[in-house]
């Protein structure tokens, strides 16, 4: 499915709630390139959800601006703006009185799509998120599990093919196993759809897994660091970021790289060495060496042919 994505720019975006000390979001400036996932993460009070809701004007800006493909959100008609942005929340908020078809078709109906086109789109989306269009179309949200509901929430947000998606802790209320699966599915979908996504979470590991870029907000709504997961783990901007990503940030960083990315030594004297495929993460490789008290391992290709040898110290460099 061809899908356009929009560039999103926060330009000194600020929110001050009346009657409260200090800003919730304080002069936030960052650019999310089209087609990338930007994760907003930080402790509570960091204003990440507020920042997200500024974009579709569920919360009005106090000062500064937010632009989508160069046009200020303030220049858009409010309802048109919201209909053009996909919105997913933690509690999903499906309409209990509507079937899945009714739920997913909400925004297309508001936009006045012809019936047949809406129906076709619903079928397409149910398939996309791994539900059965024939069986599930006429079911009500109460008949679904938490994970299924969130899939429908995602399908509903994607219905009118928005160029920008806002996701507020979408997997936060789901048990860890299903959450991991939904994250994987979401990343697989994103490979295909290439939407611009703003994703809020309080979970650093989720941020590292999901984000192309991570914006870490500190209390008072100021931006502590905005960078790729790797750089945030390798070079935290300050003590706050280092603390926030955790003492195991070196290990988390290893999880983001694979054996295939390393320079390999020529295959020689590889007998008896453990063998691992090139797409194994450095973290898993290290875990294996620690468990086996080994010093080196043999990296193999998809066809099982040896590619080269990696020493333990190569993993840590």
């Amino acid at each position: 499915m061809p899908s356009q994505a929009a560039e999103l720019v926060f330009d000194e975006a600020t929110k001050v709630y009346p009657g409260r000390d200090g800003a919730a979001v304080d002069h936030l400036s960052l650019t999310v390139p089209a087609g990338e996932i930007c994760v907003l993460v930080g402790p509570s009070g960091g204003g990440k959800t507020t920042a997200l809701k500024l974009v579709n004007r569920l919360i009005p800006l106090t000062s500064g601006d937010i632009r989508i493909d160069g046009t200020s959100i303030l220049q858009h008609d409010l309802t048109e703006l919201r209909r053009s942005i996909g919105y997913v929340i933690q509690q999903v908020g499906l309409f209990p009185h509507m079937t899945l078809e009714g739920n997913i078709g909400t925004v297309p109906r508001l936009l006045g799509w012809p019936r047949a086109q809406i129906r076709q789109r619903v079928v397409e989306l149910l398939e996309l998120v791994g539900l059965d269009p024939e069986k599930d179309r006429r079911r009500f949200p109460a008949e679904l599990s938490g994970g299924q509901r969130q899939r429908v929430g995602l399908a509903r947000a994607l219905a009118a093919n928005p160029a920008l998606m806002l996701m507020d802790e979408p997997f936060g209320a789901i048990d860890p196993i299903v959450r991991a699966r939904l994250q994987d599915e979401f990343l697989r979908l994103q490979q295909e759809l290439r939407k611009t996504v703003v994703f809020v979470t309080h979970d650093v590991d989720e941020a590292i897994k999901i984000g192309d870029r991570i914006a870490i907000l500190r209390e008072g709504g100021t931006l502590a660091q905005y960078d790729t997961p790797r750089r945030i783990l390798a070079e935290p901007a300050d003590e706050f970021v280092a603390e926030f990503v955790g003492r195991d940030r070196a290990l988390k960083g290893l999880a983001l790289r694979t054996l295939g990315e390393l320079e390999l030594a020529p295959v020689a004297g590889a007998d008896g060495l453990p063998r691992l495929p090139a797409e194994t993460s450095l973290r898993d490789a290290l875990a294996l060496l620690v468990a086996e008290r080994g010093d080196a391992l043999l990296v193999i290709g998809a066809d099982g042919s040896p590619l080269g040898i990696v020493k333990r110290e190569d993993l840590l460099s």
């Binding site: 579709n56 569920l58 409010l78 309802t79 048109e80 703006l81 919201r82 209909r83 053009s84 919105y87 929340i89 509690q91 999903v92 908020g93 499906l94 309409f95 209990p96 009185h97 509507m98 909400t106 925004v107 508001l110 009500f140 109460a142 008949e143 929430g153 509903r156 806002l166």
Partner: protein, 242 residues
């Protein structure tokens, strides 16, 4: 007293008794012959009038309550006074309310209707407001986030989701209106209360008429109750899964 049933109350032979038979002479609890004979001139007209009284009272009461409930729901400051007003109306004993209205609307069906309508407001207002307030916050947030206008949110989300509570209110209002409407015959001979008061006014209480008319009122209430339950199921299919 002005009620019409008094007129037939005095004489030893009442034309309505029709052809006397054993059952009627003994003032039996239920004489089928009498019911058959007077179905078309007493019971059926009374039943139709009763249905009319109820439908009009609940219909107008519903529209009025819906408008009031919308105001009380959208503008919270009005909720307390509106709720208190409908509460207050409900506390007035029905016979007293009829009498209070007579100076204004006389001995008319209108007087009965006004009283009946004011009784429906209490349960309908409360239920509609409670239903509208009961819509989960996350549902409203997603509606807003997806770009539904306020009006669209009201008609497409809040009203349908309040429907179980609204219909529960309609159910109680209908059944209680059918019951209270019999008292309306205190004012004029109208509805099923007519034959009931008539029977009670006979020297020894005309049992067959009392049982027949009273029974019809009960049957009418049960039927209406059942129909509304069916309506509930048809209108809120999503509410049965849970």
């Amino acid at each position: 007293m002005s009620a019409q049933w008094v007129l037939g109350g005095g004489g030893p032979v009442i034309p309505k008794f029709g052809t006397p038979n054993e059952c009627l002479k003994n003032n039996g609890w239920f004489c089928p012959e009498w019911v058959r004979e007077h179905w078309s001139d007493i019971l059926q007209p009374a039943l139709i009038q009763h249905i009319e009284l109820t439908v009009i009272a609940v219909g107008i009461g519903f529209v009025a309550s819906f408008v009031l409930a919308f105001v009380g729901f959208r503008y919270r400051v009005f909720d307390l006074p509106l709720g208190a007003a409908t509460d207050f109306l409900y506390t007035i004993p029905s016979i007293a309310l009829f009498q209070l209205l007579v100076p204004f609307t006389g001995l008319t069906v209108t007087t009965i209707e006004i009283a009946l309508i004011s009784y429906t407001l209490f349960v309908l207002y409360r239920n509609i407001v409670t239903g509208l307030r009961g819509v989960p916050a996350e549902v409203l947030e997603s509606a807003r986030g997806m770009g539904l206008t306020r009006r669209q949110t009201f008609w497409r989300v809040e009203v349908p989701l309040a429907m179980p509570a609204i219909l529960a209110g309609v159910r109680v209002a209908t059944v209680s209106t059918i019951s209270i409407a019999t008292v309306g015959a205190f004012l004029i001979y109208y509805g099923l209360g007519g034959p009931i008061f008539d029977a009670l006014g006979q020297p020894d209480i005309f049992r067959t008429e009392l049982v027949a008319a009273g029974g019809l009122a009960i049957l009418l209430a049960l039927t209406a109750d059942m129909l509304i339950v069916l309506l509930q199921r048809a209108l809120t299919p999503w509410n049965r899964i849970r």
